[in-house]
């Protein structure tokens, strides 16, 4: 588990086309632990996707770590179907071993980790304060990205992640 200011663990995970992705070297990355079956992840998805579109210089990586045996809606095949049916602005990666989720200390879906250009964790938590209110527009995540792009530390580096627990094997 990592804290604010720690070096973020590197990783390489396959997307729904089998192409591997890693955090950006020398750029900002938002690692978004998410899934298919959780209503919190689904409620926040459009806001996170809109943020990914609005920040093209930030590498967004959505990562599904859930145990697909007990939660078949989170299987690799179900992830592929979802990406085929929806307009995703970021790759959707499968963390089959759950090693990446464990290394980051992901607790819920969603749970967001923003890494700066030096590879250090600068924001961790929820997209915004209320999954029920689309007008919140992932404001906490956007604030963190704005700060980092301005060369400053986010004023709100950590918030409580809210969502369904990660489904560990």
């Amino acid at each position: 588990m990592i804290g604010i200011g720690d070096s973020a663990p590197g990783f390489s995970l396959p997307d729904t086309d089998g192409v591997d992705h890693s955090p950006a070297e020398g750029g900002i990355t938002a690692v978004v632990f998410t899934c298919n079956h959780c209503p919190y992840a689904l409620a926040w998805h459009d806001r996170i996707a809109a943020t990914a579109r609005d920040y093209p210089d930030v590498r967004f990586l959505a990562v599904n770590p859930n145990d697909a045996k007990r939660y078949p809606r989170d299987s690799y095949e179900a992830m592929q179907r979802r990406v085929a049916e929806e307009d995703w602005p970021m790759p959707y990666l499968r963390d089959e071993s759950q090693e990446v989720a464990r290394a980051y200390g992901a607790q819920t879906t969603p749970d967001i980790f923003v890494i700066d250009a030096e590879g250090r964790l600068r924001y961790r938590g929820a997209p915004d304060s209320d999954h029920r209110d689309p007008a919140q527009n992932a404001s906490w995540l956007r604030e963190a990205l704005d700060s980092l792009q301005a060369g400053e530390a986010p004023g709100r580096p950590e918030t409580k992640p809210v969502g369904c627990s990660v489904k560990w094997k």
Binding site: P39, A43, R70, P134, C164
Partner: protein, 110 residues
């Protein structure tokens, strides 16, 4: 007049939505004047979920009927339930108007 129907909130600790669902349910029961205590039933295993025919947390039953009946083939397991609000948005809790409609149906049957 008959006795008030049993009102149950079935929940699982892996999903944080049950306090919100309980608060909403109790508020609506009060507003609608249905004198019922909410029985909280914690679901603790997949076997328990299967026995209770629990499609996810939270599930609200009034008089034994799910206020938002799950679809055919919905598995009974430890999971968070996905609800659709009346405006189409996805939510971890049922639309308050669906809760209100179920409470009013129960009242009419007293």
């Amino acid at each position: 007049m008959s006795e008030a129907p049993a009102v149950e909130l079935l929940w699982w600790e892996g999903c944080p939505s049950h306090p919100d669902a309980l608060a909403e349910l109790e508020r609506i029961l009060g507003e609608e004047g249905l004198p019922a205590d909410v029985e909280r039933v914690e679901i603790e295993s997949d076997e328990h979920a299967a026995r209770e025919r629990f499609p996810g947390s939270p599930t609200i039953r009034i008089g034994g009927r799910d206020i938002v009946p799950p679809g055919d083939g919905e598995p009974f397991t430890l999971t968070c339930r996905v609800y659709r609000l009346r405006d189409g948005r996805i939510s971890p809790t049922p639309d308050p108007e669906d809760v209100r409609a179920a409470v009013r149906r129960a009242k009419e049957e007293l």
